[in-house]
């Protein structure tokens, strides 16, 4: 288990290093980083200071190393809009985003997993059909369409809820539902197929053939095994807590990280974009790491570290 954990850690570190490298390469390819990071109308002395600070006169590999060490020290540049540290700008938006994504995650898990399990246990029943139709719809209806439809019905037509902004908790209802429904559909579909696959396994038939009550077969054998693939999807959802609401925040004018990202991209505020990119990568990698370690706990075969190659 220890070797398994260290191997995963090494891979996580490698992935983050690759994201940093990606940001560096893209930054270099897109022009003079000093100009880009500081903005076109930055005073020349600021640009010179930036160049010296980031060592832009040095050979590329030295620059790469100093870029790396700057990022390790939390120096992610300044926003060209208001000159504040990009990292501060981004982190102060995180609570707003979490206020949407955390309740949405609860909806996804609380709605999607039971629906998927139920559909799998009652395969081909009316309930199963309904779950599947909703699940497919949840995948094919883009979140901005769903969000706007909800606004049209509940804000414009019925006038029950506000259509955008962040003044009260009522403002969060529509965005949370938009986020939650889409994710719940994905999770339901996935849980259902994972369950169905497990239920078709010989050990399930063996267990029920030898007289184990069906309820215990499901809770004791089917659910733990179906949990393994489902955990991956949930991990991905946890990983996207910080930036998983880009589109929905834009639909509802919610001042979270996603909205900041969209604005930064349209303004080419690269320091902010880069900061969000790294933040998302770190969250994602951490979530994946936790999932991998959980996998190790859930699946004893992986614990020894002898994973079947390709």
């Amino acid at each position: 288990m220890l070797r398994f954990a260290t191997a995963r850690l090494a891979r996580a570190g490698l992935t983050i290093a690759m994201v940093v490298t990606f940001a560096f390469v893209v930054l270099r390819l897109s022009g003079d980083p000093a100009q880009i990071i500081m903005g076109a109308d930055a005073p020349p002395e600021a640009i010179d200071a930036f160049r010296t600070a980031w060592g832009l006169d040095e050979p590329v590999w030295v620059q790469y190393l100093s870029y790396f060490s700057a990022i390790l020290q939390g120096d992610l540049g300044r926003s060209m809009r208001d000159g504040r540290d990009a990292i501060v700008l981004v982190t102060e938006r995180i609570p707003a985003t979490l206020a949407l994504t955390l309740p949405a995650l609860l909806i996804k898990i609380g709605l999607g997993i039971p629906a998927g399990i139920f559909a799998a246990l009652h395969r081909n029943s009316l309930a199963d059909r309904i779950v599947m139709v909703v699940a497919v719809a949840g995948f094919t209806v883009p979140s901005f369409v769903l969000g706007l439809l909800l606004v049209l019905v509940f804000a414009v037509q019925l006038g029950w809820l506000p259509s955008g902004g962040q003044e009260s908790w009522r403002h969060a209802i529509l965005p949370v539902i938009t986020l939650g429904l889409g994710g719940a559909a994905v999770l339901a579909r996935f849980t259902r197929s994972a369950m169905l696959e497990v239920l078709g396994q010989p050990y399930i038939r063996t267990a029920s053939a030898k007289g184990v009550p069906w309820r215990s077969v499901v809770t004791g054998h089917a659910l733990p095994n179906a949990a393994i693939p489902t955990v991956t999807i949930i991990g991905f959802m946890v990983g996207s807590l910080i930036a998983g609401a880009v589109v929905v925040e834009s639909v509802f004018s919610w001042p979270g990280v996603g909205r900041l990202l969209v604005v930064a991209v349209s303004n080419r505020d690269l320091a902010v974009v880069q900061c969000i990119l790294l933040l998302v990568a770190v969250t994602m990698v951490c979530a994946n790491l936790i999932v991998d370690l959980l996998y190790g706990l859930l699946d004893p075969r992986l614990r020894s570290g002898t994973r079947k190659a390709g």
């Binding site: 070797r3 398994f4 191997a7 891979r11 020894s304 570290g305 002898t306 994973r307």
Partner: protein, 328 residues
């Protein structure tokens, strides 16, 4: 090409693999082939026998040049083999071919038999393909109209005939057959072996016949080599080995052959099957050998020629050529 050189001469082949346990795991060195020398003459067949995992298939691939040995050398018609994948290597494939254990896996399921038999001709730019494909199919006992068939429409034996036809398309001088009959029904095995002997008479190629079945090897081979854990432990005439095996391991193999109507004393092997990652000291066979001595655990016996011309790697077989028949 030197006409006096043997068709194929392999000297002291060693092939190591690193077996890794997990990511970042400690690499364990496995010697799949550990100092094998063999020689194949034109128009003759060398049988290579051993249990699964003894390195006989790896030896086959080394001899064909599909892999490069870590030590030792292979020369074909007096020339060293080009490196795998190079243009010279690809051109040489016309001269040396392989027949596989699983004919269904070795054939492309999306192409007809005729197309696949023609493929080596296409690759090596040999003309008059249609007529040659017909000849080849007839030579291996398939009907020319079966060229239109797809692999899954043929029986196992017919598929192996098709693989043979494809292998012989360029009239190679050397054919390596890796367990060519073990995936076939018993009733078909004899037919395919007879076919192999007939084809050898007609095309005159040298054959390395790899099998775990000593009887099958005897039917087609002019010489037999017995392999155990990456090494040849005995080599000689097939009939001589079958009648009087010298190495204790060869003896167990011979005793395992069923003789209908005759009771024989089977030698049941003691101990675990060998693990190439954890090779015993001295003679690799000593933990399972019924007649092992202290010397066998200490010193590795060399493959040496005995008085009657047979090659044996066993301390006891050399010290006392008249080894007691039943020592266990």
């Amino acid at each position: 090409m030197r006409p006096d050189a043997p068709l194929l001469d392999a000297k002291d082949l060693v092939r190591r693999y690193d077996m890794r346990r997990g990511f970042l795991g400690r690499a364990v060195e496995v010697r799949a082939v550990d100092g094998v020398s063999l020689r194949i003459e034109r128009g003759r067949t060398l049988g290579l026998v051993g249990e699964s995992g003894c390195g006989k298939s790896t030896t086959g691939r080394l001899v064909l040049g599909m892999e490069t040995p870590d030590q030792g050398s292979v020369s074909f018609e007096g020339q060293p083999l080009p490196s795998p994948g190079s243009a010279a290597w690809r051109a040489q494939r016309a001269r040396m071919q392989m027949v596989y254990q699983d004919p269904l896996g070795a054939l492309d399921r999306r192409l007809s038999i005729g197309t696949q038999v023609a493929e080596p001709l296409e690759i090596h730019r040999i003309g008059d393909r249609a007529a040659r494909v017909q000849d080849l199919l007839r030579a291996v006992g398939l009907r020319p109209d079966q060229a239109e068939r797809y692999p899954h429409e043929l029986s196992g034996g017919q598929r192996q005939r098709a693989v043979l036809a494809r292998a012989l398309a360029t009239e190679p001088a050397l054919l390596v057959c890796d367990e060519p009959i073990s995936a076939l029904d018993v009733s078909i095995q004899a037919q395919v072996m007879n076919l192999l002997v007939d084809l050898q008479e007609r095309f005159g190629m040298g054959i390395l016949f790899i099998s775990h079945d000593l009887r099958a090897v005897r039917q087609v081979s002019h010489r037999v080599a017995v392999m155990y854990l990456g090494r040849i432990v005995e080599e000689g005439e097939p009939d001589a080995i079958l009648q009087d095996p010298a190495h204790p391991y060869a003896r167990t193999l011979v005793s395992a052959i069923p003789h209908p109507g005759r009771r024989v004393d089977r030698i049941i092997l003691q101990g675990d099957p060998p693990n190439p990652a954890d090779r015993p000291s001295g003679c690799a066979f000593h933990p399972r050998c019924p007649v092992a001595t202290a010397l066998c655990a200490r010193e590795t016996p060399a493959l040496k020629r005995r008085g009657d011309g047979r090659l044996v790697a066993c301390h006891l077989a050399h010290r006392d050529e008249a080894l007691p028949r039943k020592a266990a």
